[in-house]
Amino acid sequence: MLQVGLTHFLVVSAILFSLGIYGIVTRKNAVMVLMGIELVLNSANINFVAFAKYGNYGLGGQIIALFVIILAAAEAAIALAIVLNIYKTFANVNVDEIDKLKE
């Protein structure tokens, strides 16, 4: 059990994933919600890399992780631009207070 294998990495990733979701759901500040998203993406990346290594799937997993990292960067850029825009409009970035559109 304590012998580190694939499962260990996966469990870490699973926890990271869940924490990411938890962060996304509970944090008021939009920037911190974004942090949660980054955690989710990271956990997926760990999966890819771990699977690739233990499953002997070649470097495909790493490539995918690489793509995801790049994507995360792009997404973060856009996300922050939007958050800034929100800040300009609403003077705060509390996601739960931005609920003019509803029902």
Partner: protein, 165 residues
């Protein structure tokens, strides 16, 4: 228990522990710094998994880029004079229940699944192979990512820039 294992646990604890702080601490700045540790931990895990290039990219892009971006975001969207930049939390209970169940599901999936597990030693360096793959098999995605970045650039610039009014 060998060194590999110990290092793994170390990084795993760093990763998970700081991630816990990331999502629980009320201070945004703290949170950002804990995120740094998380990313760092992930980097370590990458190294343990033999993904050296990825680890570097993780440090450069994530820690050097995204995290800085996030901190900028924090700075730009809060009054700087306010020393304690705090954030509230909401629906903790449903989130805790939902995520708890969810985590249980994910973790049990991870544990009980009979994954294919026949690790082979990675080549010492993966950079070259990755490069080769990038412009061969994954060239389409590579190009697509280029366009994606262009779009992100345009989009971010477009949305963040001040109106002339």
């Amino acid at each position: 228990m060998n060194y590999y294992d110990i290092i793994f646990y170390l990084f795993a604890i760093i990763t998970v522990g700081s991630a816990v702080f990331v999502v629980t601490t009320r201070n945004v700045i703290y949170s950002a710094f804990f995120l740094l540790f998380t990313f760092f931990g992930v980097t370590g895990i990458y190294v343990l998994l033999g993904a050296d290039f990825l680890a570097v990219v993780q440090i450069m892009v994530y820690i050097g880029g995204i995290l800085i971006l996030l901190i900028f975001g924090v700075m730009l969207t809060n009054t700087i004079t306010n020393v304690e930049i705090r954030t509230g939390t909401l629906h903790l209970l449903p989130a805790a229940i939902g995520v708890g169940v969810f985590m249980g599901a994910v973790v049990s999936v991870m544990i009980w699944t009979d994954w294919k597990s026949q690790p082979v030693a990675n080549p010492v360096t993966t950079t070259k192979s990755l490069g080769y793959l990038l412009i061969n098999e994954y060239v389409l995605i590579f190009e697509l990512l280029g366009i994606l970045l262009l779009i992100a650039l345009i989009g971010a610039a477009s949305i963040a820039r001040r109106e002339k009014e």
